[in-house]
């Protein structure tokens, strides 16, 4: 069996090689954002002695009269309409529940769902009232920080490279083989247990490694960035993508393509 070892070496911070500066207003807790009392305070701020003070470390975002501070890394805060992917850990044990749900969803199942409502203490209630949602069958789950998943119109993507991906707002990303028949989506309650071909498996593994490398370099995840990263990684072997030098190279190429596409 081939093994690879490497010695620890000090690596240059990746952001220096980008040579850019950020235009955002960065704050740390205790910093005064403004002394103007006309603003409404949003997340990440609190009012103290006539001043608006930051409570997290991040960038200040201002929308008209609302000021909030977006922290670098946060736990997922649910909002109505978000798509989430998750695993059932516990369920209510009542008689009606037994009869109705036991046949379909069990503890340990992976599901995709939409946020229906958010309670005042932060808990969310989910629903799977559409054939899009439901139990997830064969595929790969990647867990990333929720702040790296870009908010888009749709979070279900069929990538042209041959696999499909669900970008959960809670940071759980599900990669699965594109179903052949369009009516059978990833959901429903019957899991598709047909064997997946080797070519599909390779595409899924490559996608998974690409997502991991994008996350390590703290890039936002959305269908275009994942696709460009996939294409940039094609010259390399799937297992080489996770090596630090190759990761940097691929992500750098992805960044450049995205910049060209914008400008």
């Amino acid at each position: 069996m081939a093994m690879e070892m490497r010695l620890p070496v000090a690596r240059k911070r990746f952001s220096e090689s980008l040579g850019r500066e950020t235009k955002k207003h960065l704050v740390v807790p205790g910093d005064t954002i403004t002394t103007d009392t006309g603003f409404m305070r949003g997340h990440g701020t609190y009012m103290g002695e006539e001043k608006l003070i930051a409570s997290v470390a991040g960038s200040v975002e201002r929308v008209n009269k609302l000021i909030c501070v977006k922290a670098l890394k946060t736990r997922y805060n649910g909002e109505v309409g978000d798509i989430v992917v998750g695993r059932i850990t516990e369920r209510r044990r009542s008689a009606e529940d037994e009869l109705a749900m036991r046949g379909f969803l069990q503890e340990g199942d992976l599901i995709s769902a939409e946020v229906q409502a958010v309670f005042s203490d932060g808990a969310v209630s989910l629903h799977t009232r559409s054939l899009k949602y439901g139990k997830l069958g064969q595929g790969v789950l990647v867990q990333v920080s929720p702040s790296l998943v870009k908010r888009q119109k749709t979070h279900f993507h069929d990538l042209p490279c041959g696999a499909s991906v669900i970008l959960g707002n809670n940071g759980f990303i599900w990669i699965y083989p594109t179903p052949e028949h369009k009516e059978e989506d990833a959901g429903g309650f019957i899991a598709n247990l047909e064997p997946v071909s080797l070519a599909d498996r390779e595409v899924i593994s490559r996608l998974r490694n690409c997502i991991v490398s994008l996350v390590t370099q703290r890039m936002l995840l959305y269908d275009t960035s994942i696709l460009y990263c996939y294409e940039a990684s094609l010259p390399h072997q799937i297992k080489d993508i996770l090596k630090p030098e190759i990761m940097e190279e691929i992500v750098m190429e992805t960044r450049q393509r995205l910049l060209e596409q914008e400008g």
């Binding site: 911070r13 990746f14 952001s15 980008l18 850019r20 500066e21 950020t22 235009k23 955002k24 960065l26 740390v28 807790p29 205790g30 910093d31 990440g44 609190y46 103290g48 003070i53 409570s55 997290v56 470390a57 991040g58 960038s59 922290a71 670098l72 890394k73 946060t74 736990r75 203490d121 932060g122 370099q217 703290r218 890039m219 936002l220 960044r255």
Partner: protein, 245 residues
Amino acid sequence: MAGLELLSDQGYRVDGRRAGELRKIQARMGVFAQADGSAYIEQGNTKALAVVYGPHEIRGSRARALPDRALVNCQYSSATFSTGERKRRPHGDRKSCEMGLQLRQTFEAAILTQLHPRSQIDIYVQVLQADGGTYAACVNAATLAVLDAGIPMRDFVCACSAGFVDGTALADLSHVEEAAGGPQLALALLPAAGQIALLEMDARLHEDHLERVLEAAAQAARDVHTLLDRVVRQHVREASILLGD
């Protein structure tokens, strides 16, 4: 034979520092990807690692949940290799429990717990090498870890220890200075408002001297704040550049 001279006539301490001088501080945030927040700090030879999980659902008994705020749970542990003699019990002993309690009191004062009712925030601190000022290093590391996790806080919590030798207040004591047996004080400060989160001393000090020692500790904590502030800003700036605009 004279004993170890903690403060020479020219005003130098055992390790060559001046009375109010801090040891070299180096810190890093985000050292563990799997935890919600993590940080590592070195104050001289004292090395501490802090890891934060949360806010999440209360583990164990639901009855402990507070209806209007989050529960802060702190655990302190020092590695068996952290002191000169190998320690037999890394956690569960009296000193660790007391430290855990002090850390909890400190962070309950600083974290805005009302924003996360019925949930729990876990802070685990481990001392890898203890050379004096362990409480201070733990608080500083935990502050950075809580910031890394994105948990809202009123302000930084910066801590430093201080002692009193030969009529002079010394800041940031090393193990040699602590072991000498003089009075020593640990102070945790919220620098922007100048509020004290925790003040601890278990020695005898004449009240005339208290103000001087307290001021030395407060000034040292403010110096620590300057350093930690720089570390956090650098970290935020880098992440912001990587994320793009």
